[in-house]
Amino acid sequence: LPELSARKKYFAALVPSSADLTLGEVQALSTTRLARKLGSAERVIVRSQEIDFFGEGGFQARAIMDTVIDNLARAVRKLATAGFERAVITADHGHLYSAEDRDASMRIDAPGGDTVDLHRRCWIGHGGATPASCVRVPARSLGNDTDLDFVFPVGTGVFRSGGDLAFHHGGPSLQEMIVPVITVRSATSVAGPGGGGMLSVTDVPATITNRIFSVKLSLATLEATAVSVRPVLIAGESQVGSVGMAVGAEYDRSAGTVELVPGAEATVGFVLDDDTANSVKIVVLDPASDAEMYRSPSALQVRLGVT
C-alpha cells in the first residue's frame, strides 16, 4: 500500500472500531477530550514522523528527538488513562546518528552510469562502476520485476547526494533492516498529580524572551534525603524544553534530573527547544513514575527577541 490514505482505509476496513490520530493530536487533547474523541474505539493508531523530520535538522536534532521519545511515553500514559492498557510502539526503520558529523571521507562517489534514482544509501540504475566499498545487487534478485541494479554502501558510508554525515538511513544497515517493536502494558488507572505543596518554583520570569532562562527550585520535606526531580517545559501537552544546567544541586544530563536537597535552593536553567511555542508551563515530574509534582499555575508567554 503506497500511500497513507490507502493504509488508513485498509486498517479501517480490517478493524472498523478503530481510531487514527497523530502524536501531536494525542498530545494536544486533554485526557477528557481524548477519551471522548476515541469513543468506543477498540484500537487506536498514533502516527509520528517527527524523528525522521527532525533528523536532518542540524545540531538541535538530538535534543528534539529525545523530546519526541518523552512525548511518546507521555502519549502511552495518556492513552492508558483513556482505557488503552496495551501499546505497541514500532517504526518502519531505524537510523544511523553519530554523536558528531563524521569524516568527509565517508562520502562515496556514486556509481554513475544510467542513474534512475540516487539516495545517500542507495543507487538505482544501469551500468556505471561499483565503488570498492559498495555492493551491486540485481533488483530481480530481491524480487523486483526489473533489470535495474541496486548499489549499496557496505559499511556506514553514503553516496555524495547532499545532507550531513551525522544522520542518515537507508540501504542494508542493521538499523534499517530490523523493525523495532516495544510492547507496553500500563495500568489503566494512572495516578494523578501528587506531591503537591512540597515543591516550590520561584524567580520565574513573567515572559520568556531568551531561549535559555533559569528558575529556582526548593523542596520542603521532613526527610533529609535528596529527592530526584525532572523539570520540563510543556506547551499544550508536548514537551518543548528541558533542564540544561543546575547550580546548587546535582544534575544528571542523560536523565535530565536534578537532585534537590530539602531546605536548599537550587537554580536550574531551562532550554526552550521549540521556537514555535507561544506559551509554556513549567512542570516538575517524579522521574520514577512521571507523576507531576508541580505545574505552573499559569502559562508563561514566549516572546523571543531573535528568531
Partner: protein
C-alpha cells in the same frame, strides 16, 4: 555539577534598563571575545548566536547560552585546516 562562573563585566544601571526595555533583543557584545577565542568565525555570526542564546542578564542563562554557542560552533563550523 560544579560550574565555573564566566567572568563578565559588572552590570550597571544602563545595562539593566536596556535589558528591561528590550528584553530578548539585547546582544551581549561583551561576550563576543569569550567565544571568539580560537574560532575563525565572523563576528556577525557570533553576535547572532549570542543574541539567540545569551540575550539575558541572568548569569545561569548566560553560562548555559555560552555552552550552546560554543557547542554550535564546534559542531557546525569547519576550520580551514579541516
Amino acid at each position: 555539577m560544579t560550574i565555573a562562573w564566566t567572568e563578565v563585566p559588572p552590570r550597571d544601571d544602563l545595562d539593566d534598563k536596556v535589558n528591561s526595555a528590550f528584553a530578548g533583543k539585547v546582544v551581549r557584545k561583551d561576550l563576543v571575545r569569550k567565544v571568539k577565542v580560537g574560532a575563525n568565525v565572523p563576528v556577525f555570526v557570533l553576535e547572532f548566536l549570542l543574541g539567540k542564546y545569551c540575550a539575558s542578564s541572568d548569569p545561569v542563562a548566560i553560562e548555559m547560552g555560552l555552552q550552546v554557542v560554543n557547542d554550535t560552533l564546534a559542531n557546525n563550523y569547519i576550520r580551514p585546516d579541516e
